[in-house]
Amino acid sequence: MSIFEIIRFAIRGLNSNKLRTTLTTMGIAIGVSSVIILLAFGNGSSKAVQAGIEKLGTNTITIQSNRGGFGGGRASASRSVSSKPLTVGDAVALSDPTTAPDIKQAAPVASANTTCTFGTNSSTPGTFNGTWPAWFEASNTSVSKGTYFTNDDVTEGRRVAVIGNTIVTDLFTGVNPIGQVMRCGGIPFTVIGITEKKGSNGFQDGDSLVVAPLTAVQRSLTGYNNLQSIVVQAKSAKVQDLAQTEINTIMDAQHKVKNVNNRDYRTLNQASLLATTSSSSSVLTVLLGMIAGISLLVGGIGITNIMLVTVVERTREIGIRKAIGAPKRAIMTQFLIEATILSLVGGLLGVVGGLIGSNFKIVGVQPIIIPSSVFLAFGVSVFIGLFFGSYPASRAASLRPIEALRYE
């Protein structure tokens, strides 16, 4: 008895009750497609979060002073004798291509806490940075309207500013901000550019931003010798670790650090932030996958149920087949194949449904299919057919012909 023959018997068996076959197949199809779609959704949402973080700047390493909490030099009371503040000299040293070949550029940042006004409107920027033009690229910030300030502006200490969208809406409703003079902490700054929208990273509004030449900010707002941080851009994400090492070497030399465990500066990089967020979003993906897996399991139990009913219903047929010489194996294989075809067809439909369903946005998140999830879901569905079909099949095969024939 060839396997094709048995497959033909199995298909004939499935054909004889089309509605039931369709419903069972749908159970598996829904399970498989929900696994694919939900995993794609989880993957898509984690990619979206990552993209949001990348927008706020990648390849960048931020150096901060360890002399006291935030606010840098202002916490002068906690200043320890041995520690030095970050200086413009540090930034210049970090920009040296011979000692730091993997660093593209570095920019010192002086931060001010101040409120800006224009007419009667006022806004307190989340970030008010005095820096170098290199900062824009290092922090992945680009100007969409107007211009950047230049190194010349820094040298001359011109009071010009590039502002974010939140500041634009707060201060300049109905006015073109370019060329307007706003006052920040009483000091006039001419707006020369507006940054591209960054959105929020969940902690901070990336658009509540004012960026001005370092010298201008230091002169009028923060004073000298009070750098908040130095933003360093590595040449690429790949050499970020090398860049980190170079930073430590240069900074240790600049600051005469004797014990590397007791540095007077610290570094933060975006890569570690990305790693944290992606691990939390992978928890979400796993959770969604588990929920979908349960529906796949329910589909599998549906197959068992249907196959058990089928075996009972066809007891007499099994009896006839046995009476005319069907070996146990043939009966077993026939029912097993029936169950496998159900799950195979269901799995294929589920994959198609999953691929189609993943094209639609769910609550604003574009699902991104994980290719392995397609194979996994399909493989699991076929396995489910074999596993959940084997009990009814062995029950059918072990029916005694005399009892099966008597069954009405």
Binding site: M1, S16, I320, R321, K322, G325, I402
Partner: protein
């Protein structure tokens, strides 16, 4: 030359102790090749139990059974399937064709289970259908055939494997008199061709066609006579 059927001291017991019922209570029966035997008896006489045992569908509580020289009781499930497929052709009262399956496919089925393939299988099935006079109904499904035609498909199915024994259990029970007559003519013809035929029946006119009549009552054979036509 060994007999086709050799039942020795067959006992079939249901229940135990005081509630024990003996469906067969020590039956000895020998049927030689080429015989045409009718087994008769009222319901409850044990004739169906005997038929199930002869057909290797059921096992005995005690006794021995040789079918075409093979001791059936010693066989495992797989060997039994082979014996049922090759040695016995069954014909049932309710035809027992596989539903939604053409006459040809039904006749091919036991051959398929024996592993006979393609052209040979088709040719043998067609030949068997020709013997029963249904060569023009091969692609009809059971529901499209009359009772008499269905039973003839069942006969063709039983003949297709060229069994040592054709075993019919009340084959005319669901047929009208015309179909009954046709079927019995067919049995005569099959037996005349040399095949052993055993018919279980409670109808006298069916038994009258056989060459030998075995009568049963309460699990025992009460008479075993040659039928003088």
């Amino acid at each position: 030359m060994h007999p086709v059927i050799d039942v020795q001291g067959a006992v079939k017991q249901y229940g135990s102790g005081d509630a024990a019922i003996f469906a067969l209570d020590g039956v000895d029966l020998r049927i030689d090749s080429g015989e045409y035997v009718a087994i008769m008896g009222p319901s409850g006489s044990g004739k169906s139990t005997l038929m199930n045992i002869m057909g290797a569908l059921d096992n005995m509580t005690a006794g021995k059974y040789f079918l075409d020289g093979i001791e059936i009781d010693t066989l495992d499930e797989n060997a039994l399937a082979v014996v049922r497929g090759r040695k016995i052709g069954f014909i049932f009262q309710s035809f027992n064709l596989i539903a939604r399956t053409t006459a040809l496919a039904n006749v091919e089925l036991p051959l398929a289970y024996q592993g006979i393939k393609g052209k040979e299988r088709r040719a043998r099935a067609m030949a068997a259908l020709k013997v029963v006079g249904l060569e023009d109904r091969v692609s009809h499904e059971p529901t499209e055939l009359s009772g008499g035609q269905q039973q003839r498909v069942a006969v063709a199915r039983a003949l297709s494997t060229r069994p040592a024994l054709l075993l019919a259990d009340e084959p005319t029970g669901a047929l009208d008199s015309k179909s009954t007559h046709d079927l019995l003519d067919l049995f005569d013809q099959i037996n005349a061709a040399g095949r052993t035929v055993v018919v279980i029946t409670h109808e006298d006119d069916v038994a009258a066609r056989a060459k030998r009549i075995v009568r049963m009552r309460d699990g025992k054979i009460i008479s075993d006579t040659v039928n003088k036509k």
